[in-house]
C-alpha cells in the first residue's frame, strides 16, 4: 500500500493536539496497536513542540507555518515535520538527552530522546536561518 497526505498549520500551541491526531488518524490505516498509535502521536507531538518553541520561538504570528507530511509505504509510516524557523545550531547536541536551550521554561530536553525511543528512525536536517526538517519512520506490526 502507498498513500500520502500533507498539510500546513500555524505554529500556535492550540494546533499541537490537532497535528498529532491528524498524523495518528492517517497512520490508523495500517491497523496499528493502540500502543503503536500512541507512539506515533507522541513523537509527532515532540517534533511539533520543537518547531513551535525552538524553530519559531515566542510570539508566533500569521506567517509561521509548520508543515506535516505523512506517507505510508507498505507497512511503514513516515512522518515529516518542517518549520521555516531559526534552525538548529548543533544537531548532535540537540539530540542529547536532557539537552535544552530553555531550562528556565521547564523544558525537559527529552524531545528527541522520546522521538528516537518511539520511532524506528529519526533523521534531522537543519540550516541556520532557514529551518528544520525532522523525518521519522516506524514499521507497524501486522
Amino acid at each position: 500500500m502507498q498513500n500520502i497526505f500533507e498539510m500546513k498549520f500555524l505554529a500556535i500551541s492550540q494546533n499541537q493536539a490537532f497535528a498529532r491526531v491528524c498524523a495518528a488518524a492517517f497512520a490508523a490505516q495500517l491497523n496499528p496497536t493502540l500502543a503503536e498509535l500512541n507512539e506515533v502521536k507522541t513523537a509527532v507531538s515532540e517534533a511539533v513542540t520543537n518547531a513551535m518553541i525552538h524553530g519559531y520561538g515566542a510570539g508566533c504570528d500569521d506567517e509561521k507555518w509548520i508543515y506535516l507530511r505523512c506517507q505510508i509505504l507498505d507497512n511503514e509510516i513516515w512522518v515529516e515535520i518542517e518549520d521555516k524557523g531559526m534552525g538548529i545550531n548543533d544537531i548532535a547536541a540537540a539530540r542529547e538527552p536532557l539537552y535544552t536551550t530553555k531550562p528556565d521554561e521547564e523544558r525537559s530536553g527529552m524531545g528527541f530522546t522520546v522521538m528516537e525511543e518511539f520511532m524506528d528512525e529519526v533523521v534531522v536536517h537543519s540550516a541556520l536561518g532557514e529551518g528544520t526538517v525532522v523525518k521519522m519512520s516506524k514499521k507497524i506490526t501486522q
Binding site: 500551541s13 507522541t42 507531538s45 521547564e106
Partner: protein, 115 residues
C-alpha cells in the same frame, strides 16, 4: 484540560483530566502552584488516572514541581500511571526521582517507612 485537588494528610493530590502537552503544561503548572501555595500540604501527588496523553512537556512540568518542593523539603509522587505514561516516566528517568504508586492510600501507608 482540568485540574481538581484533594488535600489529605499533608499531600496535595492534583487530579489532571485531559492531555498534557506544550499547550496545556503551563496552565497545569500554574493551577498546581497556586493551589499548593494556598494549601497546608507538604507534598504534591500527581494523579494521572484521567490523563489521556502526555509528551515530554509533562516531564518538564513534573520535574519543575520536584525542584520547587526540594527547597521546602517536600516530595513529589505519582499515582495511577498507565502503561503509556509509565514509558515516558521510564525513558526520562523521572521514575528515579518521582516514586509511582497505585493510589494515595499506598503513599500514606509507605510514608515514614523509607520511601
Amino acid at each position: 484540560m482540568k485540574v481538581t485537588f484533594v488535600e489529605r494528610n499533608g499531600n496535595l493530590v492534583a487530579k489532571i483530566r485531559g492531555e498534557i502537552d506544550h499547550h496545556t503544561a503551563q496552565n497545569i503548572k500554574n493551577s498546581i502552584t497556586n493551589e499548593f501555595a494556598k494549601s497546608n500540604a507538604k507534598n504534591i501527588v500527581f494523579d494521572f488516572a484521567h490523563v489521556s496523553f502526555m509528551d515530554s512537556s509533562g516531564i518538564g512540568m513534573v520535574i519543575g514541581r520536584y525542584k520547587e518542593l526540594q527547597k521546602s523539603g517536600g516530595r513529589v509522587f505519582a499515582i495511577n500511571i498507565g502503561a503509556e505514561i509509565g514509558r515516558i516516566f521510564e525513558i526520562s528517568g523521572l521514575k528515579r526521582i518521582v516514586p509511582c504508586f497505585a493510589g494515595l492510600d499506598e503513599i500514606e501507608n509507605n510514608l515514614g517507612v523509607g520511601i
